[in-house]
């Protein structure tokens, strides 16, 4: 290997030695890098790329059951994807690292820019550059008036549109000074830019607050029943780290009735309405409706209609004729015609008898033909329950939590007829059917509806919205308010006329810049037509 020094440029003793920065130097270097536009750009692109996996893989906070299925179907890949955080991308360390670095970079950028902007707001418009010739947008003209009158006219025309200052320059070797006008407009552009970025920080903080303070739960309510807004009443409940039980808005809600409408041809749903009774402390029941898109709001809490279905009311009697079960059982709809599946678990049979389990299908509008029984319409025009009965041990006593919508038949036997065929019972409302093998009977008492409700409370939601709208306003200002500078130099031509030299500069692409300059030059020319106005001294601060 050739010695490295062979390639050393002349004058460098050791090409590998770098100037020593020290910890403070490195920190300063790192901060300057992080707050540079280039790194912000890189972080933005990284953020976009890092957000994508969340749309390809199921996410735990939204669809835990799909994650579980994915892990079961792809055990090897799933394990590694899980370790990488692919099933909870938006809470993963790498995603958090990117957006936190981005926000640090953002803050590091807007703090000095805010200072600079405040100074610019206080300061006068920038001085007239020595040479106006180098500006692409510039104009020259001659006015039939003295420089002071031209300057007066220009300042008058700029009033309200520009922040303008008149001034004068001592022309070398000339008695009459050269008068100047410097003007600037569009400070709102930078203000909007800063408001936009600060509001993004506000959105982030408000979202984080919502995560900590927010809470909510799901509850399934059968017609004629209700629930109280308390943790124990929810089927599932989630809350942020700062949640206390006292944060729950006190109320109870009862489901009086539920109405649905469907398109008769396409079977698509057209309307869902839940009629509820709301009871708040110290007040009588109030009738309210909840629709999709129209949640019921109680203080900062909102109740959303997220699902609906049928809960057939059943009475099951055991072999002794004693009522072993009575009440509505929610059946979960499985398709657009509300073919619904449900499970009735009957552990409380008379002593010495086997526990009963019933697996049922509800067909709201049943049609029985050669294809077997099926539902053809989602409304309960001719409801039919198709039941299969199991006897044995429901497995409820071993302490393992069970899904109420699934029947564990591992320790149960299906009821069969004399020929050993599994018996399927078909019952309509008001009808009873004897269970095979003398196990008892089942009665279909009625068909109440149920609704699935989401109850949510995010006290920071309003703040998120306010910051988001502020960001939108700031963005509009920062992109569409033109920031322009105008400079005029007015030289006395000696014969009562004034030579006008003007230039304009804009931040970014600005098609209206030329028109603005022309308008100002026209105002300068008009000074001669109006004639001098000696009675009113122009707003001038001489330099």
């Amino acid at each position: 290997m050739a010695p490295r020094t062979a390639y050393a440029p002349e004058g460098l003793e050791d090409p590998l030695a770098e100037p020593s920065l020290g910890p403070a130097g490195w920190a300063r270097w790192g901060w300057r890098q992080l707050t540079s536009m280039r790194v912000a750009l890189l972080l933005l692109v990284l953020l976009a790329v890092a957000a994508l996996p969340g749309s390809f893989f199921p996410q735990r906070p939204a669809e835990p059951e799909r994650v579980a299925r994915y892990l079961a179907d792809n055990p090897a890949a799933g394990l590694w994807l899980d370790r990488l955080g692919m099933f909870d991308v938006y809470a993963s360390p790498w995603f958090s690292a990117i957006y936190l670095l981005l926000f640090v970079s953002l803050v590091g950028c807007i703090v000095p820019r805010t200072g600079a902007h405040v100074r610019a707001l206080r300061a006068d418009p920038p001085r007239v550059p020595r040479s106006l010739a180098r500006f692409p947008v510039r104009g020259q003209d001659v006015a039939d008036a003295a420089p002071a009158d031209v300057r007066h006219a220009v300042l008058a025309s700029l009033r309200g549109r520009y922040r303008a200052r008149g001034g004068s320059e001592a022309a070398p070797g000339q008695a009459p000074a050269v008068l100047t006008v410097r003007a600037e407009r569009g400070y709102l552009r930078e203000t909007g830019n800063l408001v936009f970025h600060v509001s993004l920080v506000g959105v982030l903080v408000a979202v984080a607050l919502g995560q900590l303070l927010g809470h909510g739960g799901q509850v399934l309510v059968v017609q004629g029943r209700g629930f109280a807004n308390a943790v124990v009443d929810f089927d599932s409940f989630h809350a942020g780290g700062w949640f206390r039980d006292s944060h729950l808005t006190p109320f109870t809600l009862g489901l009086d009735s539920f109405e649905s409408e469907f398109d008769p041809v396409t079977l698509q749903p057209r309307d869902f309405t839940a009629n509820v009774s709301l009871r708040e402390p110290g007040a009588g029941p109030r009738l309210e409706t909840i629709k999709v898109n129209h949640p019921l709001r109680i203080g900062s809490t909102a109740v959303y209609l997220t699902g609906n279905g049928y809960a057939p009311a059943l009475t099951v009697r055991d072999a002794t004729g004693a009522v072993a079960f009575a009440g509505p059982v929610p059946f979960l709809p499985r398709d657009s015609v509300y073919t619904s599946r449900g499970v009735v678990k009957v552990p409380d049979v008379s002593p010495g008898q086997e526990q009963l389990g019933i697996l049922g299908f509800l067909l709201p509008t049943a049609l029985v033909d050669e294809d077997g029984p099926r539902s053809v319409f989602p409304q309960p025009i001719d409801p039919v329950l198709v039941l299969t009965v199991y006897a044995g041990d429901l497995g409820l006593d071993d302490g393992v939590p069970q899904n109420v919508y699934e029947l564990d038949t591992s320790a149960m036997e299906p009821a069969v007829d004399e020929d050993g065929r599994i018996v399927t019972l078909v019952v309509r409302p008001g009808e009873s059917a004897d269970l095979p093998g003398g196990l008892g009977s089942v009665t279909f008492d009625g068909l109440p509806r149920f609704v699935a409700l989401d109850v949510r409370d995010d006290p920071a939601e309003g703040a998120v919205l306010v910051f988001a709208l502020l960001a939108l306003t700031g963005l509009g200002l920062s992109l569409f308010v033109p920031r322009r500078r105008l400079w005029l130099r007015l030289t006395d031509a000696g014969d009562g006329r004034t030579v006008i030299d003007a230039a304009a500069l804009a931040r970014g692409d600005d098609p209206g810049l030329r028109a603005d300059l022309d308008r100002t030059l026209a105002a300068a020319r008009e000074a001669s037509q109006r004639g001098p106005e000696p009675s009113r001294p122009p707003p001038v601060e001489d330099q």
Partner: protein, 324 residues
């Protein structure tokens, strides 16, 4: 007149718009191919004049089709993928026509009418559903606000992407034209037409013989001007997209009980927002303005198309309103 008949008339109008755009596209292409013989300032561009007139006609049919569709369905006509496609392509055509009233952007015509024809073809052939009411989740005034602004944003970004594409094409044509001369054989291979048919170009002799396409592209406005036009549209598109995102979050809070849930559609909308934000930042970053910024804009627009066509149909999302 029954609503079903109205719906049929609407579809007929869309077919008429497609026919017009097809004629306009051919005329724009003829105009472009004749540009290689000389600059646009040298002669009257009859083909381009015909193309513009037919595009206006097509836009009228197109707008009538959208309006009739709204009457047929009895609601805002942008509630499924068919309607969204029809409306955003109309917006793109209208943005182009609006621009052309201020300045000569006829060079962009083929890149607007061609994709508009393609989008409408896709809409009637694949995405079509009969005019009808909507499910409860869509019964909201936010359908009017959120989705209409989304269609306008998509239409505006479409034209912006057209300018960005032309900008890149023009820049690479400039590079090709200023490249050192290549051996004759290679030049003949690189030039699609037979050398003896190639008319004498405006390029000075001895700089190689750039192909017809390069010569056509060299008649476009300079890259910086195309960049400015693209930026103006993309900036407007970005603001509209921001509004779409916020309005969508408000609607999601009303309908689904949360303003943001990282649904596939929300993820892609966010990604598009970030990419266009990066584009706006890139323009003021040394070394990133110009070509790289244009690539970012095109990447953003590719995400817009993916977000609409692929996410709606292939992803598990709450935004599956195609009705297919």
């Amino acid at each position: 007149v029954s609503t079903a008949q109205l719906g049929d008339v609407s579809t007929t109008m869309i077919y008429a718009a497609m026919a017009s755009y097809a004629v306009a596209f051919v005329a724009f292409a003829v105009d472009l191919s004749s540009l290689r013989d000389g600059g646009p300032e040298r002669r009257r561009r009859r083909a381009a004049a015909i193309a513009m007139a037919v595009t206006w006609l097509g836009a009228a049919f197109h707008a009538a089709g959208v309006a009739l569709r709204g009457f047929a369905a009895g609601r805002a006509p942008w509630a499924n993928m068919y309607e969204f496609t029809v409306v955003f392509s109309l917006v793109a055509v209208l943005v182009f026509l609006g621009f052309s009233r201020r300045r000569d952007v006829r060079y962009l015509g083929a890149l607007v009418t061609g994709p508009a024809l393609l989008a409408l073809g896709l809409a009637v052939a694949v995405l079509y559903v009969a005019a009808d009411g909507v499910q409860p989740a869509l019964q909201s005034y936010w359908l009017v606000i959120h989705v209409s602004v989304a269609t306008v944003a998509t239409g505006v970004l479409s034209v912006g992407a057209g300018f960005s594409a032309l900008q890149l094409a023009r820049l690479s044509a400039d590079e090709r034209a200023s490249a050192p001369p290549v051996p004759a054989v290679v030049a003949a291979l690189a030039t699609p037409e037979a050398p003896e048919l190639a008319p004498v170009g405006r390029e000075p002799a001895g700089r190689g013989s750039p192909g017809g396409l390069v010569r056509v592209l060299r008649t476009l406005p300079p890259g910086e001007e195309l960049e400015r036009l693209a930026y103006r549209l993309n900036a407007i598109g970005f603001v509209l997209w921001t509004f779409t995102l916020i309005a969508g979050a408000i609607w999601a809070e009303h309908a689904w009980g949360r303003y943001w849930g990282w649904d596939a559609k929300e993820v892609w909308t966010f990604v598009i927002w970030v990419v266009y934000a990066a584009y706006l930042h890139a323009r003021s970053t040394r070394g990133w303005s110009g070509r790289r910024a244009a690539y970012l804009a095109l990447f953003g627009y590719a995400c817009v198309l993916l977000n609409f066509f692929v996410v709606n149909l292939a992803f598990t999302s709450k935004h599956t309103y195609a009705g297919l």
